[in-house]
């Protein structure tokens, strides 16, 4: 009697956990053998480190792996090439207007890094590193972020013990509409605005309003009734037209001193990275890269040694947006 009650209780608990009242099973499929499970069971718990395999790696070994297998995308110092993810730095920026979220500044748990690199990196050839290599490259990335010293050795025990700087930065909860912070709405139906409707952000005006802030689009306030409208039939151009002559002048002044067959900038004997911006054809062909380097990331001109202005960057952006003709 006692036994059957406890059996029933177990069955019930199981059914509840599974969220179903039916006890019917079908018997399809094959039992997963321990060997089969071992091959696929690659997850590591980020918080506890459960699942971290045997093996070890040093920062120095990791640097070698990193330079061969990772740096081409993530940069020698983890700074990220182009739009590839930045892996290092950004500490102290989480409350800044533009935060930099990296392993060092944002990730709460170190074992997550092992789990992710082992399953997904290097991007073009995942699951090709040995566990020792993963430990080593993880040690190197943590060292790049000043989280572990240069002589650190990472293994299952030491990695689980690493305390990440942003460890306590996450509020974990099952967020619902009651707990999410955007809940001040009311469904007003009539006369819901105290004043006239104002445009606070206007994509079309992004390039045209010269006194725009750095973020580009806040501050142009247009009254509802007085907002400018285009001619009744013709399309209003989305961006003002920029002539190539304007573009060429800027590039000649700000870029071609370095990016030319024969650079005039002291210290440069050849065009950096082979990028030459000294003829109209070359400038047009490089439009996309010019946009990336001089308008978006603003990495160029290097150190802004040629004193390029924001207005010039905007103009280049408008030229590219208009088809780079």
């Amino acid at each position: 009697m006692l036994k059957s009650i406890s059996v029933l209780a177990v069955a019930l608990a199981g059914a509840l956990a599974a969220g179903t009242a039916t006890a019917q099973t079908y018997g399809f499929g094959q039992p997963a053998t321990p060997a089969a499970i071992a091959g696929w069971n690659i997850d590591v718990n980020g918080l506890s480190g459960a699942g971290l395999p045997a093996g070890r790696g040093t920062v120095a070994e990791g640097q070698k792996v990193y330079e061969e297998r990772c740096a081409s995308c993530h940069g020698v110092f983890g700074e990220g090439a182009g739009r590839y993810p930045v892996l290092a730095g950004g500490q102290g920026t989480l409350t800044a207007d533009r935060s930099v979220q990296t392993v060092g500044s944002y990730w709460p748990y170190a074992p997550t890094l092992f789990d992710y690199v082992r399953r997904a990196m290097p991007f073009p050839a995942p699951q090709t590193l040995s566990d020792d290599q993963v430990y080593a490259v993880v040690a190197f990335i943590l060292n790049l972020n000043n989280i572990v010293p240069a002589n650190a050795v990472m293994d299952a025990k030491t990695l689980a013990a690493v305390k990440m700087p942003n460890r306590d930065g996450f509020l974990t909860s099952t967020w619902t509409h009651d707990t999410r912070p955007d809940l001040h709405s009311t469904a007003c139906m009539k006369n819901c605005k105290s004043g006239p409707v104002q445009v606070i952000s206007d994509l079309v005006s992004l390039h045209v309003t010269p006194e725009q802030t750095e973020s580009g689009n806040v501050g142009s306030q247009v009254e509802f009734k007085e907002a400018p409208a285009g001619p009744a039939t013709a399309a209003r151009p989305a961006v003002p037209s920029v002539t190539f002559a304007q573009v060429q002048k800027i590039i000649a002044q700000r870029c071609a001193v370095c990016h030319a067959q024969k650079p005039t900038q002291p210290g440069f004997s050849a065009a950096p990275m082979g990028v030459m911006l000294d003829t109209p054809q070359r400038i047009k062909a490089a439009a996309k890269k010019i946009g990336e380097q001089a308008v978006e990331s603003q990495a160029m001109p290097i150190g802004n040694v040629t004193n390029m202005t924001q207005a010039e960057r905007k103009l280049l952006g408008a030229w590219i947006a208009g088809g780079a003709k």
């Binding site: 956990a17 207007d97 967020w175 952000s201």
Partner: protein, 421 residues
Amino acid sequence: MKNNRRHFLQSAAAVTGGALLAGIAGSKEAQAAVQSGNLPPDVPSWMKKLGTGVEAAPYGEPVKYERDVIRRNVPFLTATTESSVSFTPLQDLDGVITPNGLCFVRDHGGTPVVDPVQHRLMIHGLVERPMVYSMVDLMRFPTESRIYFTECAANGGMDWRGAQMQGVQFSHGMVHCCEWTGVKLSTLMNETGVSPKAKWMLAEGADAAAMTRSIPIEKAADDVLVAWSQNGERLRAENGYPLRLVVPGWQANTSVKWLRRLKFGEEPWETREETSKYTELMADGKALQFTWAMLAKSVITRPCPEKPLAGKGFCEVSGLAWSGLGKVKRVDVSFDGGANWAPASLQEPVLTKSLTRFRIPWEWNGQLAYLQSRVIDETGYIQPTIVEMRKAWGSNAVYHKNAIYTWRVNQNGTVDSVEVN
């Protein structure tokens, strides 16, 4: 990164803006139609000869005139096309079902082409009977078909700092809505005997990202499907062929594609996709984690920047609304930037966690207008304004932007994306 997005979108605006205006009356195409000899009183040429035979297209494709109805991506947004997103052309779609070839695609390690005969689903961890299932095994279980929307948590994220997306495809196109068929996850949980100690489930994909997310047991046992069909046919490779999870109403990233493994455990795994990504950094430097549900959102899909107004007079304003918490209860539309609102009509049937089509008639007098829609779901949640959201969330958020969206209708009938106070 954010800078890159901004600049791309300006260029996208320029391109689509020019192209679409060529399409309205008075265009080259319209003039060609007049001279074609196919308009009344002439008999159209396609009535005077035989069409193609029934076997001409064993698997049908859209006619050539619809070749602009395609997914599009944002080349500047990501470093590679393998970890990137391609958006649903909401501006071209009617009703609520997204055709399979147009469902947005968000991959983290490219789209693998998985042989269904060689694909396996492993279920293990805190279960009595760890199992491996082939596709044939899975299809023997009792099945269900359900219509659900699937929305990327980052849908709309590019507009967090200001209007940047000149087009509804880019501002809202990381959502699709399909009829999914598969076995309920609860059936498989019962089958493998999930332990009462299990509180979490890890779902893992068979792609190059080996995508992994932790899902709490309550949700797993509730309405999650292990699906192999999408709108009546097998999944498309880019949407998870041959097997995927469908986690209704939640960040699409949890609906793991190419599903190969489910592991039950006591704690969440704290994977990279639920710590580094898919979390929300707030103004105070703290981040929200496990913000799974996609809260109510709506958008007008006609008119929109891609579909300008054709002329003064009657215009049916139409759009989509949805909520990850349940059914859409009401959608209001404003023509004056949110000062006054009127309820739209909802197309029946209104389904839970599904796209819902709304419509409202409008007489356009040729004047400047600011169109908005606002959804209220069955829980009473009201879609917030962007001003409210930004105040509460700060400037570093990426995900879960569900604010009311504004289209400015200009006097020439073109439509721009703007934000109003």
